[in-house]
């Protein structure tokens, strides 16, 4: 690859969004088609990226240009086996969201697509940045369009949710900014890779711990981890369908990605020391999230809380890997745990993305998400039932579908390192099964048919087109996990051996 592929991926959406901005407002069709077309470019490029990625080759496709020389800030981007699947996921979900939205968004079309493409750029930017300032800038850029997406196209309590989301995330960001400055003062560089290699906080553990927790806060809010999760149900419930998809599918991954890219390499000692705390929080997230999901009667809220639970697996895997830093014979288990965590990130993106789309599908028709209001829809909308079943089963970690592998690897890795945490976390699996099958499947689809929905129609073609790619990935990665684990494993092994 000798052309700047990452730059293209990142800034094509920006270019697209600017062009959308210049288009006349009335030409909604054109705006929609153009936006979708634009979003295909990063999608294709990200596939190219994955194909050309040299497994285990560390950071690749690097570009380095001085940006603000006075404080040594560079435009430094690059990708490895960790970020490439996430870049692909971002491109995929954005394209699908835009496609889906082009049928469902009726008001302020131009603004919607403009913001969405801007959001895409922000997300790509975070995944490719290797410079703290750049990282931070993109991190914040993603925030603003999301705020508007929730606040303008959201549900009845959209303003509350949007503000809550914004303030929550902003609090984390400010903490992160302070920590970044701290790192800069300690290392004299904003380069993430270089700074990590210099191990800035080896001598001063306390200062390191401060910086660690500051960054931790930023990422943990984004993940979100118990007890920083309460913005999530509101934001998800109020956001428009595509917004929820991106929020759950990608924005949560930004936090996890930060843990992998920044926190672990930069603060191995601190991470190791505090791993028990993080593991406890992760286990609480898993079990607590699952149980709270079980208590929901709002379909969208249920899935929102399930995200808390599922992201807990990611954090558990990560914490377990950090637990074992320093003990050389644990490398296999560490790598398995991290593989599981990254795999789980990807899976959660496609599975929960699909679930949110599915919620949108029924909400468009029924204008309610109250689980008590449905019943017996399976015969009425068999196609929808089938897709929902697959997505739900993938979400509860049924072997043979993608979700299983993430959980299995996380628990496998964790069990060898910290068995008690794994043993407690496993309880979450039972509750996940319960809320998916009991709450979602049973209340919506099974039982006596509720005559109220006699006019309900099954999925439209555009909805099918939106969901099939996700279903295919669930099955594909479920049946043949090496397809993605090969990529992840190489990157994780490299990362771990560097600690």
């Amino acid at each position: 690859m000798d052309f700047p592929i990452l730059t293209l991926i990142t800034f094509v959406p920006l270019l697209g969004s600017l062009i959308v901005l210049c288009m006349p407002k009335e030409k909604e069709r054109l705006i929609k088609q153009f936006s979708i077309a634009v979003s295909f470019i990063p999608l294709i490029l990200s596939i190219l990226l994955w194909v050309n990625l040299e497994k285990g080759g560390g950071i690749q496709f690097e570009e380095l240009v001085a940006w603000i020389p006075a404080i040594r800030v560079n435009y430094h981007v690059g990708a490895d086996g960790l970020s490439v699947p996430l870049i692909f996921l971002t491109a995929l979900l954005t394209t699908l969201s835009l496609f889906y939205s082009s049928f469902t968004i009726k008001n302020r079309v131009k603004e919607f697509f403009f913001l969405f493409l801007l959001l895409e750029m922000g997300m790509f930017g975070v995944f490719v940045s290797l410079d703290f300032v750049l990282f931070y800038v993109f991190w914040e850029i993603g925030l603003v369009p999301m705020y508007f997406l929730i606040g303008v196209w959201g549900g009845p309590r959209r303003e509350y949710a949007a503000i809550k989301f914004f303030i929550y995330t902003l609090v984390g960001s400010v903490a992160m900014l302070l920590a970044i400055i701290g790192i800069y003062l300690n290392t004299g560089t904003f380069d993430i890779i270089q700074a990590a290699a210099m191990r800035p906080f080896v001598e001063n553990f306390t200062l390191g711990a401060l910086a660690f927790w500051a960054i931790f806060l930023a990422f943990a809010i984004k993940v979100p981890m118990f007890p920083f999760h309460t913005w999530l149900p509101d934001a998800h419930v109020e956001a428009p369908t595509a917004g929820s998809v991106i929020l759950a599918g990608i924005l949560l991954k930004l936090g996890c990605y930060g843990f992998f890219r920044v926190l672990l390499p930069m603060f191995p000692e601190q991470f190791h020391r505090f791993a028990p705390i993080i593991a406890v929080l992760a286990v609480i997230s898993i079990v607590y999230g699952a149980m709270v999901s079980m208590a929901q009667w709002d379909l969208k809220k249920l899935i929102a809380y399930s995200s808390v639970s599922h992201m807990g697996y990611v954090m558990l895997g990560l914490a377990a890997a950090a637990f074992a830093i320093g003990s050389k014979d644990m490398l296999t288990s560490q790598a398995i745990a991290m593989n599981g965590a990254v795999f789980q990130m990807f899976n959660h993106g496609i599975i929960t993305g699909a679930l949110f789309f599915l919620v949108g599908v029924i909400y468009e028709r029924a204008h309610t998400r109250d689980l008590k209001a449905f019943g017996g829809l399976a015969s009425k909308v068999p196609y929808y039932y089938g897709i929902m079943l697959v997505a739900g089963l993938a979400s509860l970690g049924l072997p043979g579908l993608a979700g299983f592998w993430g959980e299995f690897f996380v628990f496998r890795g964790t069990f060898a390192i910290a068995p008690v945490y794994a043993a407690v976390g496993v309880i979450g699996i039972v509750f996940t099964a319960a809320y998916i099958l009991w709450k979602v499947i049973q209340h919506v689809f099974l039982g006596p048919f509720n005559e109220k929905w006699a006019n309900l129609t099954d999925m439209e073609t555009y909805e099918k087109i939106t969901l099939w790619p996700l279903v295919i990935f669930m099955v594909l990665f479920g049946l043949y996990p090496p397809l993605i684990v090969d990529t992840i494993n190489a990157a994780m092994t490299r990362l771990l051996s560097g600690l």
């Binding site: 999901s293 079980m294 398995i336 072997p399 069990f415 008690v420 039972v430 494993n489």
Partner: protein
């Protein structure tokens, strides 16, 4: 693919393809769907039996096994290899599973005729067959677990197949969640095994070095202390078997599973799901038997024996024809588990195989009865012998096999279990598990014969006890599978006749089954006393059954003689109130806890204190919030509220008068100056 055995990779593939094609493309066309499903399992059956008969004569494969890797997943610098295999146990299972499945598939065409979701039924049972076939050919625990869960899913879908009925829908969920609890325990066992040994492949786990390593390794458990790792792994894995094979205390899902269509019951109870649990224990038997004096074996023996007796007693008081069979299944699985618990590996496997045939037969027979009679309640049946002769005769063959009457299949396998338990008990004395197992299982044999006799007499003898009973024989597509299975129910036992048995022993290859499966274990010697006793018990049970139900067949409106047992009957009929117990002490508290946690998380929605904010003031309300468990969100909203409060206060300062502002500004300057002066530089 040079070797025939390499084709083992394709065994789960054909039913899976049938599943996928039916679900995606041919749902509209019922006929095509049927043939696709038949073709899928049929090809697998042919392929499976080809492999089986080749393997029976192939000592190398039986002893060493043949492995066919599929793919491997990188784990750090290592690899997790997944694949299929053929070995002795697989061979035995591969003989039974595809054939019984095929019979059930054929039968289903008749039974499910006219169902609105006919095609989907065939898709689901194809996936079910995929699960079971994949399970028996897996060469490692992870792959086994995957197929195991796939079966769990299918059981959910199929038990709840008629999901419009709330009872069916609940039964499906119950089956899934209950087995899932067992699965999670098994999952932990698997993780522990993987963490300790670094492998999940059977071949590597059962190698000399690994077993030796496991013997030496210890693990620290909370409350228990340091113990050997092998029994811990064994007990955890056994948790999965308890769930899947419906052993006490996770047996509650299985009787409810009768809500599904009858072929599904046959599939679950005979060929696939419940056998999987026993198969798992048999498969992992070297780990269980590694330290025979530890908890691993006694837990297995106890659970098995206890379940066998518990379920047999419950079966006495059930009126639903399928529920009786369901409890008998639980009981028979208890036999197998208990047999494994006393080390009777070969006998347990043998019983697993024979039981699969005659239980499938019994279920399909009962399905035929239900199909003909239009009810499941035995109290409404009666006199079906003449109207459904084929069903009757095949059912009786299955009944005798289950009761353990010689020379039917069940006799040989059950007797081998009893003989083995007796043998062990003679070695170890009265205060040992084998004695418990032997005693309990012998008692169970008596009960089994009795309740089966009760079932047959109630169903087929006397006169119909309901007016709207217009029974008719089932179509051929249903009766032919019955006949085929009946043949096996009668004759299959001969493959396991003890070597010393006169005439029959030498005639059938000196206990052929033992040679196939149990090459590493010594054969159980023939014990005439035990055999005589078990025959006597079976005959006594049948005689008692005839005495109570056969001599004077029940008339319409006449109460079941069992009711004379009074409170005992009530207890048995209500299954010892175990369901109620679970519902009250596990399910409801769990749901309540979930709701409570949600309140905890989200109480601001319903929180009445929010309404007081304006009235009493934000500070007071914040205090209230903290008391009201609203610790988490309260802080966030609290910050906002405090800000608002400050805002309200500060609003007073925004007088709109420039002079006020200026005063404040100057005051601030003054303050800063004061600070500057006060603080030393």
């Amino acid at each position: 693919m040079t070797e025939l055995y390499d084709w083992v990779r394709l065994i789960p593939l054909f039913p899976f393809l049938a599943f996928a094609i039916i679900l995606l493309f041919t749902q509209r066309n019922q006929k095509l769907s049927t043939y696709l499903a038949w073709a899928g399992i049929g090809i697998t059956w042919l392929l499976g039996w080809t492999i089986v008969f080749r393997a029976i004569g192939d000592k190398h494969v039986l002893e060493e096994g043949f492995r066919a890797p599929i793919f491997s997943i990188p784990t750090g610098r290592g690899l997790l290899e997944l694949g299929f295999q053929v070995d002795a146990l697989t061979t035995a299972m591969l003989f039974m599973v595809p054939f019984v499945c095929l019979m059930i598939f054929i039968y289903s065409k008749g039974y499910m005729h006219g169902d609105p979701r006919y095609s989907r039924f065939f898709a689901y049972i194809s996936l079910f067959a995929t699960g079971m076939l994949g399970l028996i050919v897996s060469d490692n625990l992870l792959l086994l677990y995957i197929f195991w869960e796939v079966m769990g899913l299918c059981s959910y879908l199929l038990i709840g197949f008629w999901y419009e009925k709330p009872s069916a829908m609940k039964a499906g969920l119950k089956a899934f969640i209950t087995t899932r609890i067992g699965d999670v325990i098994m999952f932990l066992g698997m993780l522990l095994l993987y963490s300790v040994t670094g492998t999940l492949s059977f071949h590597e786990i059962f190698s000399e070095e690994t077993l030796h390593f496991l013997k030496e390794t210890t693990v620290w458990l909370p409350l228990v202390g340091t113990v050997s790792v092998a029994p811990v792994i064994a007990v955890l894995l056994f948790g999965g078997a308890v769930g899947k094979s419906a052993q006490f205390p996770l047996h509650v899902w299985l009787p409810d599973a009768m809500e599904g269509p009858t072929p599904v019951s046959a599939l679950i109870h005979a060929a696939t799901m419940v056998s999987a649990g026993v198969y798992l224990v048999a498969r992992m038997f070297p780990i269980f038997a590694l330290l025979p004096e530890t908890a691993s074996m006694s837990v297995v023996a106890f659970i098995g024996g206890f379940t066998a007796l518990l379920a047999a007693t419950i079966a006495l008081a059930q009126d639903d024809i399928k529920r009786v069979l369901a409890y008998s299944t639980i009981s028979q699985l208890g036999y197998m588990i208990a047999a494994l618990g006393v080390g009777a590996y070969v006998a347990a496997t043998f019983h697993l195989i024979t039981h699969a045939f005659f239980k499938a037969l019994l279920f399909l027979g009962s399905g035929s009865v239900i199909h003909g009679a239009g009810t499941q309640d035995m109290m409404e049946m009666g006199g079906l012998r003449k109207k459904m002769p084929i069903t009757f005769w095949t059912f009786v063959a299955g009944m005798l096999a289950l009761a353990g009457v010689p020379p039917f299949a069940g006799f040989w396998s059950k007797d081998e279990i009893l003989a083995h338990a007796f043998e062990e008990f003679m070695h170890k004395g009265v205060m040992s598990w084998p004695f418990f197992v032997w005693l309990v299982l012998s008692l169970g044999a008596l009960l089994t014969a009795f309740y089966m006799a009760r079932q047959v007499f109630l169903t087929f003898y006397g006169e119909p006890r309901s007016h709207h009973m217009h029974a008719h024989e089932s179509p051929k597509v249903m009766t032919y599978p019955l006949i085929a299975l009946a043949v096996f129910a009668v004759f299959l036992g001969f493959v396991g006749v003890p070597e010393e048995f006169p005439v029959l022993g030498p005639l059938f290859g000196h206990n052929l089954f033992h040679h196939i499966v149990g090459h590493q274990y010594p054969a159980t010697p023939l014990n005439w006393g035990v055999m005589g006793l078990s025959v006597l018990l079976a005959l006594t049970g049948l005689f008692l059954g005839w005495l109570v139900y056969g001599r004077n067949p029940l008339k319409e409106g006449q109460p079941d003689p069992m009711t004379k047992l009074g409170p005992v009957y009530t207890l048995l009929r209500n299954k010892y109130y175990i369901d109620e117990f679970y519902s009250k002490f596990i399910v409801r508290p769990a749901v309540a806890l979930a709701t409570l946690l949600f309140r905890f998380d989200n109480s601001w929605v319903i929180d009445p204190f929010v309404n007081l904010v304006g009235k009493i003031g934000v500070w007071l309300s914040d205090l209230g919030r903290i008391f009201d468990l609203n610790i988490i969100d309260g802080i966030v909203n609290g910050v906002a509220a405090v800000t608002a409060w400050f805002g309200k206060i500060l609003r007073l300062t925004q007088t709109g008068k420039a002079q006020n502002y200026l005063l404040v500004a100057i005051l601030t300057v003054l303050l800063l100056l004061g600070l500057y002066l006060y603080l030393p530089m």
